[in-house]
């Protein structure tokens, strides 16, 4: 199977239809296993107690928030360099999904923050960067929605997506700088090489489950978008026929 054959919209529809049940099944299995491990296998943290389990939702959401933008940037390249029609469909379908995962990362981060920091929100460098990322997603979605001409919208959104993509590291760097200046880091950090395998494994399974979920949602949204555009074309055909009869 060549990637180029996959790129034909009709081929894409038929392959994704066959792939869908398998992916949905795999996602469900991963979630069952991952959630079981997260809630019953992973030990509570000696400092944070049971609340540490929020991490198993928070970390995969944050990972997907960034992964999804990367997918959009790659799709944007596909639109601008190869002018492939599936590329804009992919970018358009990914934006709301990315926004939802970013929102989940923010919401779970906030829920986690309440017992840890004693408040729902801190202007911590990471949370702030994710908030800015959320804003960028919303801006792109708003831009997509304001155009009737989906081809022009695809090109313009692709350019803005790429500008955003090269800005993400700069924003991250700026926010880190701003954060260290205003409040010395006092947050218990979970990163570092000392993650115990009893936490690492559930985390990896959950990350896999979330990634599969993204794949399912993205494929479904792409299928919907392709079908929506076909319906649009049929409407035009009907209008065209009526025009011919009238003439």
């Amino acid at each position: 199977m060549q990637i180029i054959e996959l790129a034909n919209p009709t081929r894409f529809l038929s392959i994704s239809a066959r792939l869908m049940p398998v992916l949905v099944g795999a996602t469900a299995v991963c979630f069952v296993v991952g959630l079981y491990m997260a809630f019953f296998v992973a030990p509570p943290d000696y400092q944070q107690g049971e609340t540490v389990r929020i991490m198993f939702l928070h970390v995969p959401s944050a990972w997907l928030a960034m992964f999804c933008y990367t997918i959009m940037a790659l799709s944007a390249l596909g639109t601008l360099v190869w002018k492939h029609p599936l590329a804009d469909v992919s970018a358009k379908a990914a934006a709301p999904i990315g926004a939802v995962f970013t929102f989940l990362a923010l919401a779970t981060g906030s829920l986690w923050g309440k017992p840890m920091w004693g408040t729902w929100w801190v202007w911590d460098a990471r949370l702030t960067s994710v908030l800015v990322l959320f804003l960028m997603y919303l801006g792109l979605i708003a831009l997509w929605r304001s155009f009737d001409d989906q081809i022009a919208a695809g090109r313009l959104c692709a350019k803005l997506t790429l500008v955003g993509f090269i800005n993400i590291p700069i924003i991250k760097f700026s926010v880190d700088w701003w954060n260290t200046l205003h409040q010395p880091a006092s947050v218990v950090r979970l990163d570092g090489p000392t993650i115990h395998s009893s936490i690492l494994w559930p985390l990896l399974v959950m990350a896999l489950a979330f990634s599969l979920l993204f794949l399912v949602l993205h494929l479904a949204a792409m299928r919907t978008e392709i079908l929506r555009r076909r319906v649009d074309r049929l409407r035009r055909l009907a209008a065209d026929d009526r025009l011919q009869q009238g003439a």
Binding site: L138, S146, L156, L160, V163, W177
Partner: protein, 216 residues
């Protein structure tokens, strides 16, 4: 050609006066919101003026390319055989001169309202002079992307503000460092210069590319 476009846009003026008025209005309402505590105002003053400048710049950017788009001038500029990057450069430069330069000139005056020390005012003028061109170029991307949308003004602000955050952070940081003792002024200031240069290059090419798409 760049010179001709620059001079024409200078003559057309644009949003200079309304931007300045908006800036004044913003500075006026801040004490109503936070209270007339002069010490507090002195502390948040640089940030208030930076945010005010950012918003004033965004306010007028809406018309940067749309006026030319609507009366057909943009088509003629694009069909003239000249590089569209030159048009963007001329228009952004003229926009900066007519809209942002008056803001910077007014900063010393507004600084007294907010109880700023002379050092802080000086630092504000310098950091704004360095940082605002970057904001204008970044904003041009938004103006180009939304050029064909009749009501793109709010959308422009939404898509451009996240991109402007780094310049805002380093502009305010450098200003504050100038009058807060232990913090060094130079590192954030140099980063601000780098960000403006980077923003100018990215903004120039990205908005030229977006304009080409938008007129299609």
């Amino acid at each position: 050609m760049i010179g001709a476009v620059f001079l024409r846009d200078l003559r057309l003026g644009g949003a200079g006066f309304i931007g300045l008025t908006f800036f004044l209005a913003l500075v006026t309402i801040i004490p109503f919101g936070v209270g007339p505590d002069l010490n507090l105002l002195a502390r948040i003053g640089p940030a208030v003026l930076w945010i005010g400048a950012l918003l004033s710049i965004l306010l007028g950017l809406d018309r940067l390319f749309r006026a030319d788009y609507e009366d057909g001038s943009l088509d003629l500029l694009l069909a003239s055989g000249h590089a569209i990057e030159g048009v963007v450069l001329a228009k952004v430069a003229a926009y900066w001169v007519t809209t942002t330069l008056p803001l910077i000139a007014a900063v010393p005056f507004f600084g007294f309202f907010l109880n700023l020390e002379p050092v802080a005012i000086g630092a504000l003028v310098v950091t704004m002079a360095v940082g605002t061109p970057g904001l204008a170029f970044a904003g041009a991307i938004g103006a180009a992307v939304t050029v064909s949308l009749p009501r793109g003004g709010l959308l422009l602000a939404v898509i451009i503000l996240p991109i402007c955050i780094p310049i805002l952070i380093f502009g305010v940081t450098a200003t504050r460092a100038a009058f807060t003792d232990p913090d060094p002024f130079l590192p954030p200031f140099l980063i601000l210069i780098a960000l403006t240069l980077f923003g100018a290059v990215v903004g120039l090419f990205a908005s030229a590319a977006a304009l080409r798409t938008a007129t299609r």
